[in-house]
Subunit: 337 residues, 2 copies
């Protein structure tokens, strides 16, 4: 296999990653120590960083292209929820051992697909070899009109809570990725199961929603650690109370089928995470316009609750009673219990 | 120890890292998913990312403050060599297990010291727990006047090669960090040994040099992977040949003493890496002005060679004969041999 192995760092960068940077002149072909970015006048830059690691955020035997896609998607999702347009990203890769050329080629191919889908290009990076899991750290940069970044903390009492797409498909996909035999008991057929696993493997940031968040949202964030946790964060940041109506939550046909047989999956859906949907606070007066603008761009947005004066997050379960979750969401860094 | 342990991710960010972001309004107190940066008019942004990991780039029992300092310093050094002024950074931390509060406090203290020394502030980040070594990935952002970033590839034939500070102290410090008993055989006393180890642990980016690189350098880069390797990269990028004069290399008094007893340390000095000095290509007509400007800011710069038409890197050893290194420098990602 030796001949198929990747070369040293410089060769690796030149052959595998430089082509991904060809659309960004400031990357200087990845032949410099830094990249240079000329900001457009009247724009702010929006910055975010998120890492994914093998056996924590993805499975070691996931397809290399899926790992690459997810690493970029989770960052672009953050930008999108702020109303930002993706511009460029930096990539820091750590391998426990030298990957084979074939693995790298597929990884680069997945990055290329994600770049094309998200309109973002590689600007620079860092690669090294160390013990521990394969990890991929992305820092993504986007742009918004000056002073217009949509924040997490600026919801107002009376705002309606909107969620894009559907909730819980990715968490269900994760369960099916872990144990495909579960689908039968959930009443999910093979094609549906594949689609759910695909949602877990290849999150789709709601890029088309960004301009409408700028126009209509008082506040927004992406749902990555579970709706309960992230909605709780948004309410706390604004110093408000939030109520979520379980009956209004947008569930896919597959998830509805699974919920009918396994009602406990409601908790998986609201706390499971990895949704990468947008949670937005929109004033009632703009709700119709927001919905119409999103629909015109083929993004469904669903009213799922509202903000009010007070504190705390209340979730009304499917039976109309307050729902108390045993687990409120994904903590990247759990407190010792 | 439980009470001394750090809390969950949100608490960790609020108590440990938010204070480090207080000088950067766009960090929004680390309470949003993204940071926002308003670029100054007429400035380009310079971007770089570098990761350090336990047992690879630092020792597991290094002081937490030193680990923090180094993670930030290696990135700021990249910015400085491009003529950039540091602005802000994002921090991605991976812990194999929950660190104790005392460790985190010291880590944050080291970050704070480095921030103050380098004039950079925390803008955002990401923290998670995963197997493998503690790793710290920094993405640093600096600014330069529009179109003025000093590149690696733009040296010209006839340019003189200048190096800041002294060479090899950090590589020697690493040897003494690994085995303090070596100092006696090197003729290095305890205070000198401490200073050398300190150079390895707390690199000092040559911030004061940045404006003078903008004024006088055709090309520049920081020396982090060893002078031979990095100078070779600079020559190759420009399509030029480079000659380095060993006798002109700036060695500290300690390194000279060690070289007198152990001549093989010449290779350690030129190939060892971790110098974080600036290598600059300056036209002969500007050499005196560059030297004087640097001296006025208390940075020594030494002429160590020159670029010429051709290819390849020639090093003239201390005895006046071409020097051939067994190892040419640090490869983050070594090719299998």
């Amino acid at each position: 296999m030796q001949a198929d192995d990747a070369g040293g760092e410089d060769e690796l960068i030149e052959t595998t990653f430089a082509p991904l940077a060809s659309g960004f002149p400031g990357a200087l072909g990845l032949k410099d120590d830094c990249a240079v970015l000329t900001p457009a006048p009247d724009e702010d830059l929006v910055l975010t960083t998120d890492a994914v690691a093998s056996s924590v955020h993805f499975f070691a035997d996931d397809a290399p292209g899926d790992i690459a896609w997810k690493a970029l998607a989770v960052n672009v999702s953050d930008l999108t929820a702020k109303g930002a347009r993706p511009l460029a990203y930096l990539l820091s890769l750590s391998f426990p051992e030298r990957p084979e050329r074939a693995w790298l080629d597929l990884f680069a191919q997945g990055l290329g697909e994600a770049q094309a889908a998200f309109g973002i290009v590689l600007a620079g990076g860092d690669t090294d070899q160390r013990p521990g899991p394969l990890s991929v750290t992305v820092t993504a940069i986007g742009s918004v009109p000056k002073g217009r970044m949509v924040r997490r903390a600026t919801a107002q009492a009376g705002d309606l809570l909107f969620l894009s797409g559907t909730l819980g498909d990715s968490a269900l996909g994760l369960q099916l990725r872990q144990d495909p035999t579960r689908s039968a008991a959930m009443g999910i057929d093979e094609a549906e199961a594949r689609a759910l696993v695909e949602r877990y493997l290849r999150p789709q940031p709601r890029l088309a929603l960004a301009p409408h968040l700028l126009s209509f949202a008082h506040a927004a964030m992406d749902v990555s650690d579970g709706l309960l946790k992230d909605c709780g964060r948004m309410a706390r940041a604004a110093g408000l109370a939030a109520t979520l109506e379980g009956i209004q939550l947008p569930f896919s046909k597959s998830l509805r089928a699974a919920l009918a047989r396994r009602p406990e999956l409601f908790e998986t859906a609201v706390a499971g995470g990895d949704d990468y949907e947008v949670l937005a606070a929109v004033p009632p007066s703009d709700a119709d316009a927001f919905r119409a603008a999103a629909r015109a761009d083929n993004v469904a947005v669903t009213e799922i609750g509202r903000f009010a004066r007070g504190t705390g997050l209340t979730v009304i379960g499917l039976e109309g009673r307050p729902f108390v979750a045993a687990v409120t969401g994904w903590d990247h860094f759990p407190a010792k219990t």
